[in-house]
Symmetry: C3
Subunit: 150 residues, 3 copies
């Protein structure tokens, strides 16, 4: 459900780095947003030299993170600031502490235009949502397609 | 106008699959949304092994579809649910029926921040829109740049 | 802050073209939007033959620009139209005048879900924003993390 895309210069992240970043994102989202692990998609895009520009100049030291959150509820200013600070904290060992420059932003996309394995995902807090969380996979939870009244 | 991006593991889709998917998307959008075929952009991103993570683990069997709809009118709950179900139906032969896991979401972006071949696209239902639909190309339809009052 | 992504067929843009486009975008954004140059990210995605479809057909002559503006203020219809026309004008020498087909759209993403080098960017018009503009780098401008009241 959140889709994380990491754009990085070629040869800048090892496979071990990728695994560490994907794990940090997944566990953090799982724990703090209370979503099933399988909701979390993390894709790495290795960018060939000469294809990333910052301020009009080629960069070889910049990692850019772009996230589609697909409208998990972040209604308050405090929650939104906490989401950003939390993200910075768990990414730091892989990016900041290794001397890279970086930038990140999230987009929020409409929840009703989202399907997982063909299914509408249950609303958070419902019994079906807890089932998906526990089973860590999309389990059919309705017989006919519900009309979403939201 | 809609921009469809298909992220898939390397070696998972053949060129024939790509053509089938691009055609299914284009014809469905053309027919049900009544837009010119040339509005429909479909890009395939083949992801090297070890760059796609789901739930913190590398996946080699997952296809992820991300669509920017650029605000074609989907004002009602029913239309939005139908768009998703229709998409699932026409993609199934290429993805679900072949045993892949998959997920998709749409984003809606502002229509007034969109240009095709340098032109503002005419509103749906107008004579100019029908001209674009019939000709299947962007035809100049105004002499000076209109101020968009919406 | 704006993230520009340029999708282009393989062998369609030279490194000199890339530099020209990145520079045109950066200088235009810097001058007209009054943002520091380092805010401007421009990434080029060279697409292998057979991966870009327009209207259901493979294209080898199409350049697609996708921009996340991250909510710089464009409150009026006139400003939004001017942003699009300005973009068309500065890109024309690299795309239109070379005979490519093209299309572009912008998305606007939430400003409070954005961090640069771990920092909240100062609001435009503030002293801190002018400092970032002048120094062309992210300068710490607060001691403790502010709660964003917007």
């Amino acid at each position: 459900m959140p889709l994380w895309r990491i754009f990085h210069p070629e040869n800048s992240l090892t496979q071990e780095d990728r695994e560490g970043i994907a794990n940090a994102i997944t566990e953090s989202n799982h724990e703090f947003v209370h979503i099933p692990r399988f909701f979390v998609n993390v894709f790495f895009h290795e960018m060939p030299e000469g294809t990333m520009f910052v301020g009009g100049k080629v960069t070889t030291n910049f990692i850019r993170i772009v996230t589609d959150t697909i409208a998990v509820a972040m209604p308050t200013t405090e929650m939104r600031a906490a989401a950003m600070s939390g993200t910075e904290a768990f990414l730091a060992p892989f990016i900041k502490d290794k001397g890279y420059d970086w930038e990140l932003h999230f987009d929020e996309t409409p929840r009703d235009l989202w399907r997982v394995q063909g299914l509408i995902a249950p609303d958070q807090g419902t019994e079906a949502a807890e089932l998906w969380y526990r089973e860590n996979k999309p389990v059919p939870w309705y017989d006919v397609e519900p009309i979403l009244a939201r």
